[in-house]
Symmetry: C2
Subunit: 255 residues, 2 copies
């Protein structure tokens, strides 16, 4: 299958004039910077958020998890749907590809290009050290880009990243999700640093720790972090069991 | 156009095997109860959340606002998208209608029924006294139902209502939206009562007022509410200008 055929392939496409896709915005933190994973099909084309269409037997989450696995090699990543992008003209095959004037980007004769593509925006959080972005199976390259260096992207993908970041910032205070960006054992200063990088502003240490510990789902270990100059802060674990129990009991993490 | 043709009509349907719709869950409060607006096409059929497909020149918000206007007669209602419902088998024409064995529910010959319908869930908040649900233009009836009396609905509409309520509860603490359910002038006890009805639990008066007033967007009037026995609480207005200015300045209502 040619690259472009696979790029917009859907078992719904035949004779169909619309389709629905997913675009997971994959965030990570490295060297005190918030990063986002972007993909390139051809250096002459603008970059994209990884994505794909929802196939016949998939729901939106299934499709997003498939795209995440294809892009990062990882499963069971923290993933959250935040918005359906639905502007009538958000997808235009001709704007994106036709100017290349290159047969490898022309769709095969037996394939209809949809007039309209809806896409579900997701955000995902991964620990930077667990992902080794590689060449994708559509001969695309995936790479981490600093959020402040994101160039002009294809379609409405800049808007999708902006809204993904808003949704992530909002969710940080509602649900314990920041730990997904850290190794299994982490200190409260590590977790606070993650919040500060995502929010792009400093937080008060005492307020932050009180809020995080009030959730009762970060478990303090007897171990302390080694190699820190004068203080050796305690290490914590996210306790998934406690979290799930709290959710079941109707815990409101947001108040 | 027959009722059923209009019900699933889309200018995308011809030869298409999928379509995307909207379902706004319209909430209101009356007599200390949370209510939801439901619609009935035929007394032999299960009730539904009002809805419609996204037409060619509409985005999802446009479609949801159109459905809201058709259902309530109102424009500029508070409306928020919360989730795309995407299970492959969530829509089944035959399950919903064919058992009626009634020609008025058979689709016209020139119309293809989509194999799959995605729908965008919205929640909307309206002041009960401004809405007079009437017979819809598809010969359907709209009526307010107590949230605790919602019967088994068509498709996955019970799930959509459950998730709309979760999304509404979450949003209450993140954005000042509760006032949409009240008359223009209201007291803090009125607003607290709205929160308590939606959350289905009591809130502490002092905490509640501190939180609401910390947002700086409820303006206290010199007037007090008349006719309340011993205390006469101050009346407040939601100040849209202050709100928009705060949002522009990057206010985080959620922290």
């Amino acid at each position: 299958m040619t690259a472009i055929k696979k790029f917009i392939y859907s078992d719904y496409l035949k004779n169909a004039s619309l389709t629905v896709g997913v675009n997971p915005v994959i965030f990570s933190v490295s060297e005190n910077k918030l990063k986002v994973l972007l993909t390139t099909f051809d250096t002459r084309l603008k970059k994209l958020i990884p994505g794909g269409v929802i196939l016949k037997n998939e729901n939106a989450d299934d499709a997003a998890n498939r795209v995440l696995k294809e892009t990062t090699g990882l499963e069971n990543i923290f993933l959250k749907q935040f918005h359906l992008f639905s502007e009538p003209d958000r997808f235009s095959y001709s704007t994106a590809f036709e100017q290349l004037n290159d047969n490898s980007y022309k769709p095969p004769e037996d394939m209809d290009i949809p007039d309209r593509v809806f896409t579900v925006g997701y955000f995902a959080l991964v620990n930077f050290n667990t992902v080794h972005p590689t060449r994708g199976d559509m001969n695309n390259t995936n790479e981490w880009i600093d959020i402040s260096d994101v160039p002009e992207l294809m379609f409405d993908h800049n808007l999708i990243i902006d809204e993904a970041l808003d949704a992530l910032r909002k969710e940080l205070f509602i649900q314990p999700i920041g730990y997904n960006l850290l190794p299994e054992k982490f200190t409260m200063p590590d977790l606070q640093r993650i919040y500060e990088i995502i929010l792009d502003r400093p937080l008060t240490r005492s307020n932050f720790q009180r809020k995080m510990l009030s959730w009762g789902i970060y478990e303090r270990l007897e171990e302390r972090k080694e190699g820190v100059s004068h203080k050796r802060p305690f290490l914590y674990l996210f306790n998934k069991e406690k979290y799930e129990k709290a959710v079941k009991q109707g815990a409101n993490f947001w108040f």
